[in-house]
Amino acid sequence: MPPPQDQFYAGLGQAVRIGTELLASLIVGGGLGWVVDAYLLGSTPWGLVVGLILGVAAGVRNAYRAAQRWQNSPDKPGQR
């Protein structure tokens, strides 16, 4: 019997998911900015700064979308 069908576990899963979503976007944004700095333009540290800011925005956007999808799922989150 898979526990995720339990409402508590479904909620826990969502929480864990959104946390990593923020982190991963930050890593990607910072990483891209750093690559632009170090290999493409040599614009240290501006690429990293802009990349991190965009990464935060992307992370919030991902978390927002995840919450939105959860809200719009055909049945209530705990019952699927």
């Binding site: 019997m1 898979p2 526990p3 995720p4 069908q5 576990y9 826990l12 899963g13 864990v16 998911r17 990593t20 979503e21 982190l23 991963a24 976007s25 890593i27 990607v28 944004g29 891209l32 965009l54 990464g55 925005a57 992307a58 992370g59 956007r61 991902n62 939105q68 999808r69 719009n72 799922s73 055909p74 049945d75 699927r80």
Partner: protein, 249 residues
């Protein structure tokens, strides 16, 4: 006896093979993966071969797992997603059994190696990209433009969407890897405390070890479940481009 909490993550080479500078030795992780594959295959084949109207225990278990995976696919992708059922069911069962087998003391958690989870994530994300471009052609690049974006916001939104797309495989890989690794490190630390504490106070961390093991069983299910759900979501996004967002508004 002092033992590093990272000890469970060491790969013991049982059978070194070196193919033209490429290390493809048979180590503990490879061995456990074979065990998992054999276990899943034997379970599902044996459960499926009976085909009784009144199912036995094994068949009930298999039917429950299949129904569960089918539910996830129908929830996230709709009827069209059933084409991917074999892939998604394989992923779910493999990850679930890897996570669960890792909880047996002395065995190995394959999913605590980021190489393994990164390969899964790359395959899933690569498949969604290939499928998107095959189904929608160049229009698939429209996934970088959220519906309803005013033109003057495009220079800002496209980089943000690009990053959030690139973050998908990374969050998929890191989530599974980090959860499994962290859980086993905690178990390792607690057990180390139990051993160094001796009989006087060691029973306390030992009791926590048992409690943590119970929690880890839950985490094993949740992580396999989340990986499967997100696989479906990503494939579904490529499947019907912006379909979901249109329903939302």
């Amino acid at each position: 006896m002092e033992e590093s909490p990272l000890h469970p993550f060491e790969l013991h080479n049982y059978f070194p093979i070196n193919l033209g500078g490429l290390d493809i030795s048979i180590n503990k992780a490879v061995l456990i993966m074979w065990v998992v594959v054999a276990l899943v295959a034997v379970l599902m084949v044996r459960a499926g071969s009976a085909r009784k109207l009144v199912p036995g225990k094994l068949q009930i278990l298999a039917e429950m797992l299949v129904e569960f995976i089918r539910g996830i696919i129908l929830d996230t992708m709709g009827e069209g997603g059933m084409k991917f059922f074999p892939l998604i069911a394989t992923l779910f069962l493999f990850i679930l059994f890897c996570n669960l087998i890792g909880l047996i003391p002395g065995s190995y958690t394959v999913t605590s190696q980021i190489v393994v989870t990164a390969v899964f994530a790359t395959v899933v994300y690569g498949l969604s990209l290939v499928m998107g471009f095959v189904l929608h052609g160049v229009k698939f690049l429209g996934i970088l433009v959220p519906p309803g974006t005013p033109g003057w916001l495009l220079p800002l939104m496209v980089p943000i969407e690009l990053i959030s797309q690139l973050a998908r495989p990374i969050s998929l890989a890191v989530r599974l890897f980090a959860n499994m690794t962290a859980g086993h490190v905690i178990l390792g630390v607690l057990f180390g405390l139990a051993i160094s504490g001796g009989l006087v106070i060691g029973w306390l961390p030992f009791a926590f070890t048992i409690a943590m093991n119970g929690l880890e069983v839950g985490i094993a299910f949740i992580q396999a479940y989340i990986f499967t759900v997100l696989t479906c979501v990503y494939l579904g996004d490529a499947f019907h481009l912006h379909g979901h967002d249109e329903h939302a508004h």
